[in-house]
């Protein structure tokens, strides 16, 4: 495809099923400037370094403090509403920098206690058993719709304290809002308008829920956040809840689906997991390296940053291509091989630095319970199409459907 930059090719849905050759191409330059002035970082060493470099910001909206009135009536008019918007919206903490980021994230971390997360294992198992039970008698399923999607939704709703009858609404909202993470969709005006509407709906809903949690405190994260003494204001609370919902939806779905796809592509590993379920944690770490749910994140250079022989200029958008670094042959021997026995597997599947995934322990539990249960109970399972159809997103990458043929479902 001549004329388009490598990163544009990555964004092209036609390359969704296997972006890895493009990643290999990109890694030839650890930091590659694209035609539009975006810098893509794709090698492990450079990424590991930049991911905790304070000259890189996660707040990729123009900083209202730094904005200077140009004196030009049209420009100023254009920017004024943006400023208001930023203040109004209280962006979720993945799009913020310290100190706000630390404050908000800290409050969430205090609610995500290890005991609480560990306590979700039994619940996850029960939901899993239930979903697999419903496959009884079917010879064909779509793993995404029948399993990978409903599982994390139910788990995150339960954790946050969203009543089960309202779960369905969140599917639509979460899917829509996740598009904000895709540069090619985010810029699109129509999509932005949809996001706006969607955000208002979800915010209204959460505002009501927060009120209830203040009146009647329950054993859930939203209750804790809403009742914390020096807690967040309602805007931040809503933004945080939305973030947790979206992140809890869109990533674990991919982890589970990619996991099953990988196991079906390498049946020896599927058999091994069935026989030795205790190997699941290592297998999941390798999955996070080999087929991570989040392929890249965007950042902004606050100043000129010299790295790997070039200089990322001030204000340049920077793409952290985590999935490419995960297959960097300098860091991981034979990186394109799926090998759960890798001794040294410090992947970037959950990101790194101060935005390291808050939900990592929960995601690990969900993936472990899901995959172990699936391989144990689904009998004679096979892919009916390979590659499966993918969702459009290049950042949150995963199959839209994973249609499987089954011979049967074993009991619990």
């Amino acid at each position: 495809m001549s004329g388009s930059t490598l990163f544009e090719q990555i964004l092209d849905p036609a390359n969704r099923a296997n972006p890895y050759p493009l990643y290999a191409e990109l890694r030839k330059a650890p930091v590659a400037r694209q035609a539009d002035g975006t810098y893509v970082v794709s090698t492990h060493a450079e990424l590991a370094r930049l991911i905790s470099d304070p000259r890189i910001s996660s707040d990729d909206l123009p900083d209202p403090q730094k904005f200077r009135w140009t004196g030009h009536p049209v420009t100023d008019l254009l920017v004024r509403p943006v400023r208001a918007e930023i203040r109004k919206r209280h962006r979720p903490f993945i799009f913020r920098d310290p100190p706000d980021h630390d404050r908000l994230r800290g409050q969430v971390m205090r609610c995500f206690t290890p005991e609480r997360v560990r306590g979700m294992r039994a619940k996850t198992q029960a939901i899993t058993d239930d979903l697999i039970g419903k496959m009884q008698g079917k010879s064909r399923i779509d793993l995404v719709d029948d399993f990978s999607y409903p599982l994390p939704v139910t788990v995150i709703c339960e954790l946050l304290g969203v009543p089960p009858e309202d779960e369905a609404q969140f599917h639509g909202w979460a899917t829509q809002l996740a598009t904000a993470l895709e540069p090619n969709q985010r810029g699109d005006e129509e999509n932005q308008a949809k996001n706006e509407v969607c955000f208002n709906e979800i915010a209204d809903y959460l505002q009501g829920l927060i009120k209830e949690k203040r009146k009647d405190r329950q054993e859930d994260i939203l209750s804790d956040l809403a009742n914390e003494k020096e807690g967040m204001n309602d805007f931040d609370l809503i933004a945080t809840a939305v973030l947790l919902l979206v992140a809890g939806h869109e990533t674990t779905v991919n982890l589970i689906t990619n996991g099953m796809l990988t196991l079906l592509r390498f049946p020896e590993h599927l058999e091994r997991l069935r026989a030795e379920p205790e190997t699941a944690p290592r297998l999941i770490e390798e999955l996070l390296r080999y087929e991570p749910p989040v392929h890249y994140r965007t950042r902004l250079a606050l100043t000129d940053i010299p790295v790997a022989g070039i200089t990322i200029p001030k204000d340049a958008p920077v793409i952290f291509l985590l999935a490419a670094a995960n297959r960097d042959p300098i860091r991981f021997p034979d990186p394109d091989r799926f090998d759960p026995d890798r001794p040294d597997n410090r992947h970037l599947g959950f990101g790194g630095g101060l935005h390291y995934c808050v939900g990592a322990p929960l995601a690990r539990i969900e993936a472990e319970v899901a995959l172990v249960s699936l391989v144990r109970r689904l009998k004679g399972v096979s892919l009916t199409e390979d590659p499966p159809p993918y969702r459009p997103g290049a950042s949150l990458r995963g199959p839209r459907h994973l249609r499987l043929a089954l011979e049967g479902v074993a009991g619990e």
Partner: protein, 420 residues
């Protein structure tokens, strides 16, 4: 020396010894491996001793996990007493003699005892270095002493003070200098921690020293300070620094004194005349080595991370054959501490620093990263409750970046260079 080693002896069965043993096996060493330890315990971790253990969160059994295939002989509870360099053997207290092809010296340090032996012998007077110390002190703290007097303005003293406050035990912390923690963090940050300690109810007394202790029936009853103040107490912890365990090397010909055992950049022990002692390596708190980030000035670093990294380098070099295949120990010192709800991390060495700049957060918020400069170069960085940016500063220190490093960054105040 190019022969492949068949017998490796490690003296000092703690963090560095443990890490070296594992690194040797990971690198394919299949010969005999013996660890000699003065303590009767298997290698264990010390940092939790002054933190979680005293608080009763963990037991004092912080034994380090041992690989099932380590296949090493542990000779515990029997210190090495002599090194015979020409005969290439280590002699132990039980009279045994262990010949070696390669020797690793990892005997670390011990707590500096209270200088007056009579006072040091009183029941209720403690030091804190090993597991047994932590067990004893922890047991005593559980009896809720009326007050704990801590002597020493270093990290261990502060960590114990913090633990005591968590347990709601009154604490008096005596610091000889005008500011606590100044050696590691400089007066400004040290002063900040001192302030926090005071707010947490520590009776912090600066420029304060003990004149004498009073005992009653062999048990501590009170201390009198040089300024005349008298404090009734039945519990005193002397956290007044460490001594290096080098006495057993007396007469061996190795260059070892209170400053440590002198090594070259490859972790090889040196003789009095500066030559390399064939086949003898050192790692951890006991070693004194040329620091590439400070023009090869000799340092001994008493940090967990250094003990591990140095052990790994030493292990690699023990198997390297000749010097051309050896690698330098170029670890950048790093250190952490937890106290009074704060997490403190430090990379690099602040010794001799002449400038400080708060590069993230602020002193007022007590959440900050501060960089230290020396003659215009960045030499260290400390983080209080915000360690996530430290890797970037680590890189800057490695590169000896001009001071102040990293400008125009996230959460960065206007950088003002001040004295440390």
């Amino acid at each position: 020396m190019t022969t492949r080693p068949e017998r490796i002896v490690i003296v000092g069965a703690s963090l560095a010894g443990h890490a070296a043993a594992h690194a040797l096996r990971e690198r394919g060493y299949a010969g005999s491996l013996t660890l000699v330890g003065a303590e009767r315990h298997r290698p264990y971790d010390r940092p939790p001793l002054s933190k979680q253990v005293l608080r009763g969160l963990y037991s004092a059994d912080t034994t380090l996990p041992c690989h099932p295939d380590l296949n090493a002989e542990f000779r515990l509870g029997r210190p090495a007493t002599r090194l015979d360099l020409t005969g290439r053997a280590v002699e132990c207290e039980d009279g045994s003699r262990l010949p070696y092809d390669r020797l690793l010296i990892a005997t670390g340090t011990r707590a500096r005892p209270w200088p007056n032996p009579e006072e040091a012998g009183l029941a209720g007077v403690f030091t804190l270095r090993d597991r047994d110390d932590a067990e004893r002190l922890g047991a005593h703290l559980r009896t809720k002493p009326q007050r704990v007097v801590l002597v020493g303005g270093g990290f261990i003293g502060f960590e114990v003070a913090s633990t005591c406050r968590d347990l709601d035990i009154p604490v008096t912390l005596l610091v000889r200098d005008a500011v606590p923690l100044a050696a590691a963090l400089g007066p400004r940050l040290g002063g900040l921690i001192g302030e926090v300690a005071r707010e947490r109810g520590v009776d912090l007394r600066l420029e304060s020293e003990i004149e004498r202790m009073e005992g009653q029936a062999g048990r501590l009853a009170a201390v009198t300070l040089k300024d005349g103040a008298r404090i009734e107490t039945d519990c005193l912890v002397a956290a007044i620094g460490t001594l290096r365990n080098v006495e057993w090397l007396d007469g061996s010909g190795l260059e070892a004194d209170a400053g440590g055992l002198r090594c070259d950049a490859f972790c090889r022990a040196l003789l009095h005349d500066g030559r390399v002692a064939e086949g003898v390596f050192a790692a951890g708190d006991v070693a004194r080595w040329p620091n590439p980030y400070d023009d090869d000035a000799l340092v001994a670093v008493e940090h967990w991370g250094n003990a591990r990294a140095q052990a790994e380098t030493a292990a690699a070099n023990m198997l390297a054959g000749d010097a051309s295949a050896m690698r330098r120990h170029d670890h950048l010192p790093d250190f952490w501490s937890q106290q009074f709800g704060l997490t403190i991390k430090l990379v690099g060495l602040t010794e001799g620093a002449d400038a400080l700049a708060v590069v993230h957060g602020s002193l007022e918020e007590r959440r900050l990263v501060a960089a230290f400069g020396k003659a215009g170069r960045t030499v260290a960085a400390a983080a209080i409750d915000s360690a996530r940016w430290l890797p970037a500063y680590k890189a800057a220190i490695r590169e000896r970046a001009p001071f102040p490093p990293i400008e125009d960054a996230v959460d960065q105040p206007r950088i003002r260079v001040q004295e440390p």
